[in-house]
């Protein structure tokens, strides 16, 4: 580029870890860095850690931060894109934090901030789908469930930038209680948290499962990979739990398809990364079954292959879109 500023940095800020990566304008990853978040040390300490993580990634590629055109960040929670503020991030215990300003002070590079699921969707849309489809709905299944929309070829985030809260769409009126305080949200029946809670309750109620053999009686250190292991041993409780979650995710997808008639639905997030083989088929089946006739004509439902890279890639795309 004319001014010699030729790369972008994408940051994925999570509750437990920070990932930063340097990308070429063509979205080739040139180098990465990782650091724990340490949210308990307070916001200023976390912002320092983000800045250091960015510097480390840049240093890793033998580049100079002065040649960075922009840093994009995906943050977990409600984000005010225009103001560059994290409005509310329960995992970090942040409220109304001017992250853009604080980071620009430290890095002396333009910083752009968005919600993590919007950012992941943007990454999938540009890197995996080549920015070609007119519309895409991203569904990210992990500890919680979040989403991001691309409509008419552009990220869509609504009036106050909160669109895509698909995890809090009610699919089961008066269903299980959700972390948000309401009942029957998709997140309360189909997230990793929901699946683990159901398994823990079942074990307390005396149901048998291979999981107790794998991680111990109280299932407190459960991971998605353990579910896969138990499935391989023919565990019926785990099978049922995963199948039900997949069915619910498919119903959530169908609701989005019925409402938005998108060209693509892309599934991602930790649960899909870990259990794609076990869940994807059932999700698609349930989605097609619950879609209004005609609304899925030409629709493609795919699983993202970006895995952990969705956040950093999307954040770099955000910087590429926004940096002058």
């Amino acid at each position: 580029m004319a001014d010699g500023k030729e790369y972008f940095v994408g940051v994925d800020l999570g509750g437990t870890k920070i990932l930063a990566a340097v990308f070429s304008p063509a979205l080739k990853c040139l180098g990465k860095s990782k650091r724990s978040t340490k949210a308990e040390r307070g916001a200023q300490a976390v912002i320092d850690r983000i800045a250091r993580c960015v510097s480390d990634a840049v240093d890793e590629c033998d580049l100079d931060l002065k040649l960075c055109r922009g840093v994009g960040i995906g943050a977990p929670g409600a984000v005010d894109f225009e103001a560059g503020k994290v409005v509310f991030a329960p995992n970090l215990d942040w409220k109304d934090l001017p992250l853009k300003k604080e980071l620009e002070k430290r890095l002396e590079v333009p910083v752009f901030l968005d919600n993590d699921c919007n950012v992941c969707s943007l990454g999938v849309y540009e890197k995996e789908l080549g920015a070609k489809p007119a519309s895409m709905v991203g569904m990210f299944i992990g500890t919680g469930i979040g989403g991001g929309l691309v409509l008419e070829g552009k990220p869509y985030s609504g009036m106050s930038h909160t669109a895509g809260e698909i995890g809090h769409m009610v699919v089961q009126v008066d269903g299980p209680k959700c972390g948000c305080g309401r009942k029957g949200c998709l997140e309360a029946v189909a997230s990793r948290t929901a699946m683990f809670k159901r398994l823990q309750t079942a074990v307390k109620d005396g149901e048998k499962t291979e999981l107790t053999d794998i991680v111990g009686e109280d299932l407190s250190d459960l991971k998605s990979s353990h579910l896969r292991k138990a499935l391989k041993r023919g565990d019926k409780l785990v099978k049922r739990t995963i199948e039900d979650a997949a069915r619910y995710i498919g119903i959530g997808a169908a609701n989005l398809i019925n409402i938005l008639n998108p060209e693509y639905v892309v599934l991602g997030g930790g649960v899909i990364d870990a259990l794609e083989d076990e869940m994807f088929g059932a999700i698609v089946e349930s989605a097609r079954e619950h879609t209004f006739p005609g609304a899925d004509r030409g629709l493609k439902i795919v699983a993202s292959k970006l895995g952990d890279d969705a956040g950093i890639t999307g954040a770099a795309v955000l910087a590429r879109r926004c940096a002058k």
Copy 2:
């Protein structure tokens, strides 16, 4: 206008009646006409009736069809806007009907076709909201439940023009059976059909209601106005039925708010027209209660005052937008 063609016609094609109206470019209604649909006589007969209804409305205003810039039509079902075809309209028993072409042959005026709920939303958006909000979700509650979206100031209809099928969003997994064949759709728990079915079942099960006094034992000729009458007499079954439907509609609205973060949610349709006083407050309360914190900041939930005119007005807006 320069070529002297200075008015638009809007047509609301329903399963039982056809409404046509003439509008000035400023959307002043100049005259109307109404005719029964007589779907049982077959498609060609219905198209003839639409053409006659349009001619009658134009004649009513002492105008000449040659001076009409365009005719817009809202049709009940799946519509291929580009091809000008009604893809599927179960109420009319139509499949792949080239309505635009057939009507243009008869009227010799450009005809533009869209789904009835999209058209109603467009009418509300331009006539009632002055085309000002960046985004609006229209929810129309009648025999069924349909919706229409306006996003970034433009009607949004998705990849194959089926977006807005909000009545078939599942809100109660394994809930009551829906006309679409699936279970727990919003339409299956909150449409007029769903309310009437619940009341009829309750009466069969021996529950007491004023309705049997008002319309007779089998409740086969039930209308929304009867529910209002029964409510005024303090009917508890009717009260509970209406309250539950309102709660579900509010949950449906909240899902749309969580997903799309719109500036406006507009409620319309026969049920709202007839029972606004009884339902609107409960719908808003339920919507706010089920909305993710922050997603309803600045949101306005309103009831449309257009009533039966939403369809013809929106159809005229469609013609005004599309006619050269």
